[in-house]
């Protein structure tokens, strides 16, 4: 069907109406309706548009009409599909959002758990640190005194040694420096008093059972005077503050008599015994002056 053909028909109808001016409007409408019937044009009649129709051949008005129509249709269709699409899209988006929120929750949960755990750990660490600091604070004074004493001890040892040597000098020699020596002895005493005031006490090992918490064994020897495993001589004075040893005494320990001990460790001891015989008096810090070892 050629659309132009039909449109031409419609033009004819219009022309007729225009030419017959005397007829009333109502009549004209009736007439028109009759003609419409003849023409089989009703409100229901649709204009079929060939698949192959050519836009270029359309009259302008219809082209406009059609254009509007198509746009409308397109927009309606588009609107419809857009609507479903939008719903779909929004559903999708919501789903996505839910998923991402879920993810977020999971992540936050993990994060929270981690933070919780780490805060727990931290607070435990802190509590522990606090109580330890408190403990350490109490010990700090002792520590400081201990450290100071440890640094001072070698000098004090040497002062002791000097006094011991002088005291062990032969009478004739010693008398020359006696007043000086007396002074030094007093200084030595003073130093020991200061130590005692700071709570630093000498360890008195001789005759005690050897105890490695307080004594450091430097040598072993046989002895008739002392029992096995007791300290027979102090080679270097040790000190403690309360129970805390700041330096163990260096001692000689009586070894079990050969009958008690299957394997005497000969190489460890013999030479020390010689040494002991030579130097013992001079190295012991006895309260009474040791006898002269000259001659």
């Amino acid at each position: 069907m050629d659309p132009n053909q039909e449109i031409e028909n419609i033009d004819e109808i219009a022309d007729d109406a225009e030419t017959d001016e005397s007829v009333s409007v109502d009549d004209f409408i009736k007439e028109l309706e009759a003609k419409e019937k003849d023409l089989h044009i009703t409100a229901n009649t649709t204009i079929e548009i060939a698949q192959s129709f050519d836009d270029a051949n359309l009259p302008d008005f219809i082209r406009e009409d059609l254009h509007v129509e198509t746009i409308k249709q397109v927009t309606v269709a588009a609107a419809a599909s857009a609507k479903t699409k939008a719903i779909e899209a929004s559903a999708g988006a919501l789903e996505k959002e839910i998923a991402s929120l879920k993810e977020e929750i999971a992540r936050v949960k993990i994060e929270r758990d981690e933070l919780f755990q780490s805060s727990q750990r931290r607070s435990k660490d802190f509590e522990n640190l606090k109580s330890r600091t408190e403990r350490e604070r109490k010990e700090t004074f002792q520590h400081q005194v201990g450290n100071l004493a440890t640094q001072m001890l070698p000098a004090i040892d040497n002062l002791n040694r000097a006094v011991d040597f002088a005291l062990a000098m032969p009478e004739a020699q010693r008398s020359e420096i006696q007043p000086f020596l007396d002074g030094v002895v007093l200084v030595n005493q003073q130093v020991n008093e200061v130590l005692a005031e700071m709570g630093v006490q000498p360890i008195q090992p001789v005759g005690q059972l050897f105890d490695p918490r307080f004594h450091e064994a430097v040598a072993t020897e046989e002895s008739d005077e002392f029992d096995a495993n007791t300290v027979s001589a102090e080679l270097l004075r040790g000190y403690r503050i309360g129970e805390r040893v700041i330096r163990p005494s260096m001692v000689k320990v009586v070894k079990a008599s050969p009958s008690d001990q299957a394997e005497p460790d000969s190489h460890e001891t013999e030479s020390e015994d010689e040494f002991a015989a030579e130097h013992e008096e001079s190295l012991q810090h006895s309260d009474t002056p040791p006898p002269d070892n000259e001659e």
């Binding site: 435990k124 330890r132 050897f210 490695p212 064994a217 072993t220 040893v245 320990v253 040494f275 130097h279």
Partner: protein
Amino acid sequence: MSKVIGIDLGTTNCCVSVLENGTVQIISNKEGGRTTPSVVGFTDKDERLVGQIAKRQAVTNPANTLYAVKRLIGRKFNAPEVEKMRGVVPFEIVEAPNGDAHIKVLDRVYSPPEISAIVLQRLKLAAEEFLGDRISEAIITVPAYFDDMQRQATRDAGKIAGLEVERIINEPTAAALAYGFGKKKSEKVAVYDLGGGTFDISILEINDGVFEVLSTSGNTFLGGEDFDQRIIDWLLAGFKTENGVDLKNDRLALQRLKEAAERAKCELSSLKETNISLPFIAADPSGPKHINANLTREKFEELVKDLVDQSVEPCQKALWDAKLQPSDIDKVILVGGQTRSPIISKTVSEVFGKEPSSEINPDEVVAMGAAIQGGVLTGDVKDIVLLDVLPLSLGLETRGGLFVKLISRNSTIPLKNTMTFTTVVDNQQSVEIHILQGEREIAAGNRSLNKFELVGIPPAPRGVPQIDVSFEIDANGIVNVSAQDKMTGLEQAMQITPSSGLAPEEIERLISEAESSSEKDREERELITKRNRLDNMIKNARKAMAEFGRSFPTEEQVEINGILNQAEESLFTEDMAEIELVLGRVEEAASRITAAMMTPA
């Protein structure tokens, strides 16, 4: 999750540390030391002494004072290292029925892990006191060259001490961790470790959390003690020339010399010259003799030059083995107290062409790294992942005594690998699967782990049967080996646990033993605490009595003094119940005194 402590279980010294508030803390022992000598002493009174205290009684008790047990752990009695040690230590090393090196003390035989466990237990106790919490997990470090047996034995030692060893990591790896390695990609690090008695050089390649040991070398009998000895010898020689007196046999003089030498060595790390002053070191009829010597750094370096040089060759060998040039090394780390000497860093920078790093205390850096790894496991450290790698290749013996690797070293574990083998002679009905570990191509040169036989292979010409052998290592480093004849589906499998080392039930027994002895330790500690408290209370009460006692009627004064006298007598009892009883009485008396002090006379 409770803390995981990091332990550097050294040949001469141990160090324990833990991550706290994001920083690594070194845990001091009871005696206040930041490191603990790896020495255990057994007394005839069934006491076990550890650390400094054990060291102090070594002279009186040499046969029962054990040290350097790390040289024995996980080794066979006839291993060269063990043989060398047997010649120098005063305690008795014996061969266990399974061929392991064990130690006989006071008529009881101990395995090396048991001895190490005694030290570990002490470290654990110190850590528990430090943290105020029970500790049950630890990371322990071992030298990079330790094989599976030695690592397993170290793990066993931890178990016996009541510690689940979460990871065994290499000492150089731990040092690198402490220096913050493992975050960036691909770096090569050399770790120069000169400890008290051993020298190790390791070259690591670090890639995305995998710490690969490219090569190791060293000298197991070179250490800081040798450096001290050089100073002592120099002083001895000088004294002899000057005074004609030989101090070599004078134990006390030697002890003083040793301490002075060590101090001088330390001072020369920062000073150009130091004075060694040992007044009254000896005496002869002519009078007292003193040592007063100036030691310059230059002289010291001359004295120890050959020792330092002995460490150069292993470094070059390690580079060679790793197929690297010195310029390939990104960083050199110094470990071990002896590396504080400037001559060491100078020599190291000559070898590697760059200044070595030593910002972290070289005595503590390994333990710190272990603690960081502990932090990784508890989640306190997040930016490092340390993957476990197989320390040495695993494989089996094939025809002609050759070693075929199934899993090569530095592979990250867990993993599995399968290879197909065949028969060597016609109609061979069984094959022996001999599992070894090591890098040598000759099987006999590697460490034999175990062997088993796959029997029942149908008769066939040689080369026809196909036998799949699979090695599988799980996350705990446990190796499973299976062999399957493809045709018959016949399979034989085994787990590599001791043909040496300790059997699981033995470990269980030792754990319970160790627990009871640690219980004993705990009780003893409690006793001491109570005793100290009692002592203090008595003293305070006496003081108060002296001042306010007069406000009591005479008989009450006598009664209170009687209680105090009695308490003083009970002060040194070993009986906890008695101490508690007396403590209660003194407390009661003390509150009466306090009450009297409050009411004006």
